[in-house]
């Protein structure tokens, strides 16, 4: 009879082997990428101007900024990355909340879905580069804190995947499990919390991962527009302007942006593992 111990608890038999199996692919991909970087430089004879040596990137990291008087570039990068991360986190949380709310509303009142969904979708076809300055300037005039406007731009990108994924998840319950709830005379609130929400979680986390990356992009674009000069957006802009004299700075800024995105994504993946890790398909 079907109690399968090996399926119940995978991966504990060889903890060292498992750890190795996880690290190995990541490490090899990094090695291959580094090899491609230096290899293409050798093969296509890219100048340092077009593609600096990896060693130059490392060296740049440990060079003090502001002509030798400021902190190390690495430190400055981390400070700015943290600033961007905070904005993105704010946008992510607000976007998730908004997505939740809209999905719940659309589930309850389908007329609203028909009426509002075109605008929700339309909102995502307008380039964020065009929206961001309007929001920043507009909110600045209203006297709102600059960070609030940036968070809003980030929210603008992150609420969409959450709305769509959540609504899809809330609807992805089998008719029979709804019949079952009906036979228990469960209220619609009970059906929501005990059935719809838990069964929506896998969908929700997929959307949250997309929203995590989107909110970082939103935060960076918002930083490009205006406000106090901090964050990776500003760093990318500065590095792009001074590319001719210091190419490594731009590469490092891009790398840092990628790192923030990956960190954010990993945090959501970790949360997913903690929340839905134990369950599988029925």
């Amino acid at each position: 009879m079907g109690y399968d111990a090996s399926r119940a608890d995978p991966g504990t038999a060889w903890p060292v082997g498992t750890a190795l199996r996880r690290v190995l692919p990541v490490a090899s991909v990094i090695l291959v990428l580094l090899g491609l970087w230096e290899g293409s430089k050798l093969l296509f004879d890219f100048s340092d101007q077009r593609l600096p040596h990896l060693a130059a990137l490392v060296e740049a990291m440990f060079t003090p900024t502001q002509g030798g008087t400021g902190p190390l570039l690495l430190v400055q990068m981390l400070v700015n990355a943290w600033a961007t991360f905070r904005i993105a986190l704010g946008g992510f949380l607000l976007g998730t909340l908004l997505g939740f709310g809209l999905a719940g509303l659309f589930l309850r009142v389908s007329v609203l879905e028909r009426g509002l969904m075109p605008y929700v979708i339309g909102s995502q076809t307008v380039p964020i580069l065009a929206i961001a300055p309007m929001v920043i300037v507009g909110f600045g005039r209203l006297g709102a804190a600059p960070w609030a406007a940036k968070v809003l731009v980030s929210t603008y990108l992150s609420f969409f995947p959450v709305t769509i994924g959540m609504l899809r998840g809330l609807r992805a319950v089998s008719p029979q499990s709804l019949d079952l709830m009906r036979s228990y005379a469960a209220s619609s609130t009970q059906t929501f919390w005990k059935l719809r929400l838990p069964s929506a979680l896998p969908f929700l986390f997929t959307s949250l991962k997309i929203a995590a990356s989107a909110s970082v992009i939103g935060a960076i674009v918002a930083e490009l527009s205006a406000g106090p000069r901090e964050g990776l957006g500003v760093m990318i802009l500065d590095a792009a302007q001074s590319y001719n004299s210091r190419p490594p700075a731009l590469y490092l800024a891009i790398l840092a942006a990628g790192l923030v995105g990956v960190t954010f994504y990993s945090l959501v993946a970790l949360a997913e593992h903690l929340v839905v890790g134990t369950r599988r398909a029925e």
Binding site: G2, Y3, S183, Y184, A185, R279
Partner: protein
């Protein structure tokens, strides 16, 4: 029957709209079921046997005629939690342990934590899943999952058990064992729930039921009601009883007669 029926159909029809015109699933079905009876509903595919069960459970509304359950409307009976339902698939919630799945109806009905846990555990022991209460559904075989679904349906001691081909997806061996287990659980329950058991297996219907209701092909009507006078408790040997074979033949002939 002279006793007051617990379920009563009075010229009930069910018509579904469809692209190619309305489809009559049930046509003027009249039926009386006594409390504590074990009724098997059998008929060719699409004859409306599931529809009939769903009408009792207030999962569908009749197009004409009336259904009364315990002298109430099915809707009222549902609100009074008179129904335990078991479908062909177990419909266990993947994110809940087996024990928590069985507790679900009690949770919704506001039973205190301790009480519902004890109730769930005693039912799991009854269906032979006492050691698997903390397992998740995907860790159990199909037969064990269906046992859990039965335990869940019984958890709040409903007076009517609606079963829609509950063993239809199981292998023959598991199926026959679960039939026996179901009968013994049913016999030991006090008071005995009324069971409406939808099936397309003739031996299953005859083995389990007090009466087999044979439905005609669409539009579904009650073709015949066959009394099963086999003694209870029924056992593995019941299937070797000559009377068992006679009844099988009777049901089969009835089903075949309708084809021609």
């Amino acid at each position: 029957m002279s006793i007051v029926p617990i379920i009563e159909f009075d010229r009930v029809s069910k018509i579904y709209p469809s692209g190619s015109g309305p489809i009559t699933a049930l046509h003027e079905v009249s039926l009386r079921i006594a409390a504590g009876e074990f009724i098997a509903l059998i008929g060719p595919s699409g004859c409306g046997k599931t529809t009939l069960m769903r009408l009792i459970g207030d999962l569908e509304q009749p197009s004409a005629g009336t259904v009364r359950v315990k002298a109430k409307s099915p809707d009222q009976a549902r609100r009074d939690r008179d129904y335990g339902i078991v479908f062909q698939s177990p419909v266990l919630y993947a994110w809940r342990t087996i024990c928590k799945n069985v507790e679900l109806p009690l949770e919704l009905m506001g039973y205190p934590r301790q009480q519902r846990h004890e109730r769930a555990m005693s039912l799991l022991r009854l269906v032979g899943l006492g050691d698997f209460s903390q397992a998740y559904p995907h860790q159990l075989s199909g037969g064990m999952q269906q046992r859990a679904a039965i335990a869940r349906a019984l958890s709040f001691a409903p007076s009517i058990l609606l079963m829609d081909e509950p063993f239809g997806a199981l292998d023959e061996i598991t199926r026959e064992r679960l039939q026996l287990e179901l009968l013994s659980i049913w016999a030991e329950s006090d008071p005995r729930p009324t069971v409406i058991f939808v099936t397309h297996s003739i031996p299953e219907a005859v083995f389990l039921a007090d009466r087999v209701v044979v439905l005609s092909p669409r539009p579904g009507r009650v073709q015949r009601i066959i009394e099963v006078n086999l003694p209870r408790p029924r056992a593995f040997e019941t299937r070797e009883d000559p009377r068992f074979f006679t009844l099988l033949t009777e049901v089969r002939e009835c089903l075949r007669a309708m084809e021609g």
